[in-house]
């Protein structure tokens, strides 16, 4: 990128999305209604593990307003969802769009009802009789790996569907009396992404062209389109997947779901528009869930505090199926992948098991693997610092990878480069005024104060050499950007991404305006629509600003060359005399000036100004692949106060010092940090999908699954470190997930610090008030 003073990149441009969203004119999938539309409702399993004996739909089918009730029998030729991977020791599961013979989690779709409206469809559900013979439910991971456990997928013969060990250095290094260690078992419980908009799909048919349009509340319309063409047995030019305004995703809308396949199949069958919108109950039990692992980890170090080794066993509870397209590898493998964090540790040995249970499939959720990994390693470091009697901040700095060590390959094979690890930590310590917390002694206080630090490294904006999930045969590393000026002089830019709250219609316009010499408000960003672009995936894995932003630069540069070429002919001057600014083209040192509109007229319409060879459409289409990824980092510091009588935990202060490379729009970056931290607060203190021993979800409403409200999320002090710029064209790093990655551990450390006088360590999240009460009451470690 050139180094002219930045007009739009780095500026707080107000969002172009906002006017429609604020006036109630946003169009979310469930806002769409088409004439002659039918509605779906799913009959779901109420049993976690069982054999379907019979389904009797006779009574239900007779109900007025019912157009059909379908089970697997009616979709016999539809193959199961199977998520492939090149990883060794991986077994893909067969997930049928409607249960065949067996149910594997409470909430799994058994039948679908087509009706005039949702009310009637729900009436019919009550009349369908399903007989299920209970099989032994497999609910927790440690039971599931036992040799005598019931098996979920008979064709696989084991509940461990993937296992891998990461090794580096000497795993048998000498352990004499000078080598110390701390060891603990950490538990990260299951979460729900809970986007405020539940999943929704509307499929419409264009009868003239026999083509379908699926409107989907998806983060990944490109992935969905490619997959759906296989299920529908139609070519890509007969299917368009559109993600209109999408009400948050956080990973929960980044996978392929049976409901969207069925919506499209039934639209094909009925040749009528078909709509399904999930209710919150269904959302909590059928949208992909997040995290859930047990991490048995040990950190070895010298008495000087220098880290030597990190060993561990990760048990990932992936739920009943290996989710498409991310596979069961995604979450647990990332725990191992990022466990080492930003620290120098020569010897690394971590085994990961991905294990199925009778719970809904897990999938991506903001942070993926890293919130759990950072929780484990950052907790271990604090425990080590107590053992060593070295200040936790000092111990981190002592072991942190320095800029002179870059590029640094960690134990899992990930390479850190160009990241301000130490800068972020030092900056956060300064902002929180760390020194003043050193004298805290809570022993005789009514309110216990605690401070917790968490530093992490994250790989974002990753190119084609690195899969989002290891072994996944899907290219998520490239992005195509088309920028064009039409006959009226207006600018459109088209990408394969799918914005769902990130404000990409604004940030990408800022970048293009900067590069092209236009005004951001004049640039229309097209995204979230597979008919616009030949290949795209969507928005996930903190990729869109970094990769789409980079291709925006590449395409803009090419288009600008074309603009300059044409303008230099019009002005009869040398190309280097052309200057483009705010949508006008100038000849330097003269008063000659034309608008983009006039330029477009010359190119497309007037037939006289330009020779034929210059009358080519003003379009630039480029593809960009950063090949590898960018290292994003941050340090979070939380200060908590615990009421020693009620065990209420309040976050008193919170700092994030983060390095996301070049900041495109500080206001939007801060917003992402705020939201990410809020989700981390939820994960650390409140949120848990609880399943009982029979596999019933105990937290199936938002009154049971508790999200942080205005009273639980504090104001956050944010510092941006823009000193370590990555190799991609825009020098951007992804930053959508970092808020969640750092906050979980920072809060866990702060709570542990606040109760350190009781000699209790926090090892399981969330640390709810009742859990804290029980911990303190039992005096257990």
């Amino acid at each position: 990128m050139n180094n002219e003073s930045k007009k739009y990149i780095g500026k707080n441009v107000l969002r172009f999305e906002d006017d429609r969203l604020l006036s109630g004119k946003g169009v979310y999938t469930s806002d769409l209604n088409f004439p002659d539309q039918l509605h779906l409702c799913f009959l779901r399993s109420d049993t976690a593990h069982g054999k379907i004996i019979s389904i009797n739909k006779d009574k239900a089918e007779k109900l007025k307003g019912i157009h059909g009730i379908y089970t697997h029998e009616d979709f016999k030729d539809v193959p199961p969802i199977k998520s492939p991977s090149r990883m060794k020791n991986y077994y893909a599961t067969n997930q049928n769009i409607l249960c065949v013979d067996k149910v594997r989690y409470v909430g799994e779709p058994i039948a679908v009802i087509v009706a005039d409206n949702r009310y009637i469809a729900e009436d019919a559900i009550e009349l369908v009789e399903v007989e299920i013979e209970n099989l032994e439910p497999v609910i927790n991971v440690k039971d599931s790996i036992k040799s005598n456990s019931a098996i979920l997928h008979n064709e696989i013969k084991s509940n461990t569907i993937l296992e891998r060990t990461f090794n580096k250095g000497d795993i048998k290094f000498e352990r004499d009396e000078k080598v110390l260690s701390v060891k603990n078992n950490f538990t990260m419980t299951r979460k729900s992404p809970v986007s405020m908009e539940t999943r929704s799909y509307v499929c419409n048919i264009d009868k003239i062209n026999d083509a379908l349009t699926l409107y989907s509340s998806s983060q990944v319309p490109g992935v969905i389109k490619d997959a759906l063409c296989q299920f529908l047995k139609i070519p890509g030019n007969k299917l368009n997947v559109v993600a209109p305004d999408v009400g948050g995703g956080f990973g929960g809308k980044a996978s392929l779901y049976p409901e969207e396949i069925i919506t499209a199949l039934l639209c094909q069958k009925f040749k009528r528009p078909i709509k399904w919108t999930s209710d919150r109950f269904e959302d909590l039990m059928s949208t992909s869930q997040g995290f859930e692992e047990i991490m048995e980890v040990e950190l070895f170090f010298k008495s000087s505090g220098d880290f030597i080794g990190l060993f561990g066993n990760i048990f990932g509870d992936v739920g009943s199926y290996s989710i498409y397209p991310w596979t069961a590898a995604l979450e647990p493998m990332q725990v191992a992948g990022f466990l080492q964090g930003p620290y120098k540790i020569d010897n690394f040995n971590v085994n990961v098991k991905c294990v199925v249970t009778n719970k809904p499939p897990t999938g991506p959720y903001r942070g993926v693997g890293r919130p759990a990994a950072v929780f484990a390693i950052e907790r271990l470091i604090d425990i080590a610092s107590k053992k060593l009697k070295i200040d936790p901040a000092k111990l981190r700095l002592q072991n942190m990878i320095d800029k002179k060590d870059f590029p640094y390959k960690i134990g899992s094979g990930i390479v850190w480069d160009k990241a301000g690890f130490k800068n972020c930590l030092k900056s956060a310590l300064k902002i929180i005024k760390y020194k003043k917390f050193k004298k805290i002694n809570n022993k005789n206080n009514k309110n216990w104060i605690g401070i917790g630090i968490a530093s992490y490294g994250e790989l974002t904006g990753i190119g084609s050499k690195i899969s989002v999930a290891p072994g996944m045969p899907l290219n998520t590393g490239t992005e195509t950007g088309i920028i064009e000026i039409d006959s009226t002089g207006s600018i459109s830019a088209t990408f394969g991404i799918a914005s769902h709250g990130q404000g990409l219609e604004t940030t990408l316009a800022q970048i293009i305006a900067e590069m092209l010499g236009a005004r951001p408000e004049d640039i229309k960003i097209n995204q979230g629509n597979t008919s616009f672009i030949k290949h795209g995936t969507g928005t996930y894995a903190s990729r869109s600003a970094a990769i789409a932003g980079s291709v925006a630069i590449k395409s803009s540069k090419k288009l600008k060359q074309q603009i300059i070429k044409v303008a230099s002919h019009i002005f009869e001057t040398n190309k280097k005399n052309i200057h483009v600014n705010e949508g006008f083209i100038f000849e330097k040192n003269t008063n000659k000036k034309i608008s983009f509109h006039e330029l477009a007229r010359a190119v497309y319409s007037d037939m006289e100004t330009l020779p034929i060879k210059l009358r080519k459409p003003l379009i630039a289409l480029e593809t960009y692949d950063p090949i590898f990824g960018a290292t994003t980092t941050a340090t979070h510091i939380a200060v908590v106060e615990i009421d020693s009588e009620t065990y209420k935990i309040k976050i008193k202060d919170y700092v994030v010092s983060e390095d996301c490379g070049k900041v495109i729009n500080p206001m939007i970056v801060d917003g992402q940090v705020h939201g990410g931290v809020a989700q981390g607060i939820g994960a650390a203190l409140y949120e848990e999908l609880k399943y009982d021993e029979s596999g019933q979800l105990q937290t199936a409403t938002l009154a049971d699954y508790l999200l942080p409200t205005t009273c639980e999320v504090p104001n956050i002090k944010i510092e941006h470190i823009e000193k370590f710029l990555p190799d991609n064209l825009g020098k951007f790093k992804g930053m959508g997930e970092g808020g969640t990655i750092g906050s979980v551990a920072a809060i866990a450390n702060a709570v542990s610090n606040a109760i350190s006088h009781l000699n209790i360590e926090i090892t399981e999240l969330p640390i709810s008030r009742d859990k804290l009460y029980n911990l303190i009451k039992s005096g257990a470690k």
């Binding site: 009310y119 908009e197 009400g247 705020h674 009273c711």
Partner: protein, 159 residues
Amino acid sequence: MINKFKIETIVNDKKYTKIIEPRLLASDFIRDNLNLTGTHVGCEHGVCGSCTIKIDGVTSRSCLKFAVQLHGKKVETVESLNSNPQKMLILKTFKKFHALQCGFCTPGFLITVDELIENEKFQSEKEIRKALSGNLCRCTGYENIIKAVLELIKIRNKK
């Protein structure tokens, strides 16, 4: 066979006469029968606040009301804010402070904020946080929403 009811209601200053089933939720009525899709449905059990509307000037969760309960009432939805210059200030201020991301919960917040600007005397951040704790947002972490409301209260108090 379900008996249908005829209801008359004024929504955003427009009079509607509709024949509906008694079990129809007010939220579905507003969205599907009146095509005012700015009111969003986030949980259908009264927790998230996305479906908040005003009934006779008082905020209410439309997912916890039946449409028949709107009979003879004056209803305001998020679409009404755009046509009132004073209320447009709420929208502008939300934009200025980046108080929305995906925008799904936003209509519920806007209606709630409209009510508290009009009726509540308080001004501290703590009081605002408490007043808005019945509306869930998963994107913003609330900080910018609180800042926007503080600004709106400041402007109101100057008048």
